[in-house]
């Protein structure tokens, strides 16, 4: 249920050639025998996506809360059993905010009110480390290069890419990383989150939910993404590519250790 599909296309000269098209499949989450939602996904990490989605929507807070997660590819379904009985589910469903994200789009419940508790601990980040990380990330984005229709997200530590996921939406990729962290007991402390997509409110929230204090993207920033980053203490680095970047929040946590720099002003 995953991967790319070869397809014949015609270019502007009338020449036919074979290209790769990103697979995009429905994946239904059956949680405690209830059909909760259907996500559109590349499908490479169905279990991690299911677990991370439930975590980021506030239905799962620890590995102990998860009794079982099994992907059933033939039914395009992930069957999940949680220890808790999904009480309050209808209430959460009732108030819905559709966010700006690619491939996700729905955050249930009153997350804005819950955000105060989630301020993250800032990470000191060297410019040289960031450059090294950006170099390492270049090797990751394979599906994107082939088909141009996916976003990648990465959990990183120093220069190292710990876990990289691509999906048709960056929010699926972020959820899958969140699921990976929950299942493997990985803390967000000292980590950095990278995405190929824009830094919207939802990406900042997900980053803070994972306990990660620095968010890096090669794309732009939205206003609400910036507002939330200030509120949650997430260092926001945008337009990061090669030797360039712009720090939208948390410039005091960047250590400019490459020569011929000016000193940063206090923010």
């Amino acid at each position: 249920m995953s991967g790319n599909v070869p397809t014949r296309v015609m270019d502007e000269t009338g020449t036919w050639r074979e290209v790769q098209v990103t697979g995009e499949h429905p994946l239904t989450l059956l949680v405690n025998n209830r059909e909760l939602i259907t996500l559109m996904t590349l499908g490479t990490q169905p279990e991690l996506l299911a677990v991370g989605w439930l975590r980021n929507q506030g239905f799962l807070h620890s590995p102990e809360g998860l009794l079982s997660v099994v992907a059933v590819p033939v039914a395009q379904t992930v069957v999940v059993f949680l220890r808790s009985d999904l009480s309050g589910w209808e209430k959460k469903l009732a108030k819905r905010t559709v966010t700006t994200g690619c491939g996700q789009g729905t955050v249930f419940g009153e997350w804005v009110e819950e955000l105060q508790t989630q301020k993250v601990t800032p990470l000191q980040l060297k410019q040289s480390t960031l450059y090294g990380l950006l170099r390492n990330l270049k090797h990751c984005n394979e599906v994107y290069r082939e088909s141009g229709a996916v976003h990648g997200c990465a959990l990183c530590e120093e220069e190292e890419v710990l876990f990289f996921v691509e999906d048709v939406g960056r929010h699926n990729a972020a959820d899958a990383i969140s699921g990976h962290m929950l299942l493997n007991g990985i803390s967000g402390a000292g980590k950095l989150f990278y995405t190929t997509g824009r830094l919207t409110s939802e990406m900042v929230i997900k980053t803070a939910q994972m306990g990660i204090s620095a968010l890096v993207s090669r794309a732009g920033v939205t206003r609400m993404g910036l507002d939330l980053a200030r509120r949650l203490g997430v260092t926001l680095i945008s337009r990061a590519g090669g030797k360039h970047f712009l720090v939208y929040h948390g410039a005091e946590h960047l250590i400019l250790d490459i020569k011929n720099q000016k000193s940063p002003e206090p923010s």
Copy 2:
């Protein structure tokens, strides 16, 4: 409640400068006194977004169905009254598919079953016309150029851009165009839809829902987008920029009228 906001950022040399950040605001749809949904939007076209969203979700089929639509910026709300009483709303809410789109993400109801009725009538499109249109579209994408965090969508006819909308997600922009068409009695026949974003299933569905038979993007195509384009008869032109494009579906409707071309194979 709309537009860009100037913000001070630090670049990689430690230099501080002012950039524009895309405004991203919640917009709640209050429909027949019911709080239906909150969308995150740039906020330039709240009424059109509300009307188009209701249309594309299947709650509004004609201008007669709409009694009133009023944006209340201070409350970040659009107040809508529909002639119909939203019956079946809970049932539609119960089955949700989160799609791949930016800034939208939720299509209620059993849209897949309803799609058979929506096959569009193909449009013959000259290559020279497409190139002219791509030139004209270059002038449109202003917010994107400033902040890099929005997507643009355009309703086009021949080389002309009839209506252009930018938003934090391309699906909001598509919905606003749909609302514009409904309110102004504009048919999709003979029109072309352009988006800066990827051609996902949701974009193809929205295009067909508007009765438009050709969808053009500078970005890539997903598998389900391609499958739906084949099913709905939507000509799918991807990677369109300058003098280049790739036709993923409907190559027989492209008239290659620029010299030094090969003849297209039948698809």
